[in-house]
């Protein structure tokens, strides 16, 4: 696609939009860090910058509007996703609602495609940029999720085992852990995680938000999160307007009780980050 494709480039690009300050001392850091040790952070974004999160991006528009020029089943069997080439530019992965099968007790078939979109929205509004742009659309009469295809990405199994992911990309995996807790992902594993440009890409999020047992890639209870991730979460907590918009969008996709549980988890995370500085445990709701 003509504009910069997912994942976005260096985080420093975002810092040019906002001011820079130094992080407040978290409770866990008191007595251990001086001003010189604390990382610079981005000040809360202006409403103008935040509005980019609430509006449809050009990539989303492309995914939603461009006619497909070819459609090719990717895997085996009738339930496989499809590679969708879009007119003029762009490739995507299409997951039709009709292909969804029974995989969990609480997340039922017929809803996965909405959850894919919901997960993308959460990633977008939090500023995590973990999920490739994802929309819902009809293709040849079939409704489903359409997600931007990430070119040249590698799954964990394609990465030399000597470079352990947990050591090589600890901040990315901690952010992924937090994200998967927030969306209550019941299906994160090596098969639905990609890396590109040292950034994690969280794909296959259709089994999220329901009250199934979470399956997380790695877990970091009690560990200090990367400052950038903490700032993003705190910034979202201070952005009431954005929270209301996200709530409305999620209510179009998920049952009300799941949306309530989602915000309850955010409150738990907020409380723990403010009081203790780390996240120890999060309950579904």
């Amino acid at each position: 696609m003509s504009e910069k494709s997912f994942p976005l480039g260096d985080a420093k690009e975002k810092e040019t939009e906002v001011g820079i300050a130094h992080a407040p001392v978290l409770p866990s850091e008191r007595g251990t860090k001086s001003d010189a040790d604390r990382l610079p952070i981005a000040l809360p974004e202006t409403e103008g910058a935040r509005s980019t999160r609430t509006t449809e991006t050009p990539i989303e528009g492309t995914l939603k509007e461009r006619p497909p020029t070819s459609r090719r089943r990717i895997g085996w069997g009738s339930t496989s996703p499809e590679f969708l080439q879009l007119q003029d530019d762009g490739a995507s992965v299409f997951k039709p609602k009709d292909n969804e099968v029974d995989l969990r007790d609480n997340v039922r078939p017929g809803t996965f495609y909405k959850r894919e979109r919901a997960a993308y929205l959460v990633s977008k509004f939090l500023g995590f940029e973990l999920v490739p742009p994802t929309v819902i659309r009809e293709v040849d009469g079939q409704i489903g999720s359409v997600q931007q295809f990430v070119e040249d990405a590698k799954g964990p199994y394609e990465i030399p085992s000597g470079a352990k992911l947990l050591d090589r990309w600890p901040e990315e995996l901690m952010r992924l852990w937090l994200f998967d807790l927030i969306i209550w992902n019941s299906d994160r594993h090596d098969g639905n995680l990609l890396f590109k440009n040292d950034r994690a890409c969280a794909i296959d999020n259709g089994l999220s938000f329901g009250n199934d047992k979470p399956r997380l890639y790695s877990e970091y209870p009690g560990r200090a999160l990367p400052q950038g991730t903490v700032n993003q979460v705190r910034e979202f907590f201070s952005w009431e307007h954005g929270q209301r918009i996200l709530e409305d969008l999620l209510c179009e996709l998920l049952p009300k009780e799941e949306v309530q549980a989602f915000f309850s988890r955010l409150e738990q995370i907020k409380k723990q980050l403010l009081e203790v500085g780390v996240i120890e445990k999060v309950e579904y709701s």
């Binding site: 895997g75 085996w76 996703p81 992965v93 997951k95 990430v150 040249d152 199994y157 085992s161």
Partner: protein, 83 residues
């Protein structure tokens, strides 16, 4: 019996990167590195309960591959006969 594992290419085509077949009671995988070594060492997780599965578990490992690699970027075939 065997399972073929494919990687989705940028143009939408699929390239086979590994094949796992039953050798006695266990599965053996061959193909591109480091994918094969990682798969053999790390195993996969069963789709129903997340229980780790390794090639030593043979048939079950083969049967679960198609549920593990479902993202579209990596895809595993059904269990195929060796004919």
């Amino acid at each position: 019996m065997h399972v073929e594992i494919y990687k989705l290419q940028n143009d939408g085509s699929q390239r086979m990167i590994a094949s796992c077949r039953l050798a006695g009671e266990a599965a053996e995988c061959s193909g591109e590195e480091p994918f094969v070594t990682n798969l053999m060492v790390e195993g996969i997780r069963a789709h129903a309960d997340g229980v780790p599965l390794f090639p030593a578990e043979g048939r079950r490992f083969l049967e679960e591959l198609k549920y593990f690699f479902t993202s579209g970027y990596m895809n595993a075939s059904d269990v195929l006969s060796d004919e």
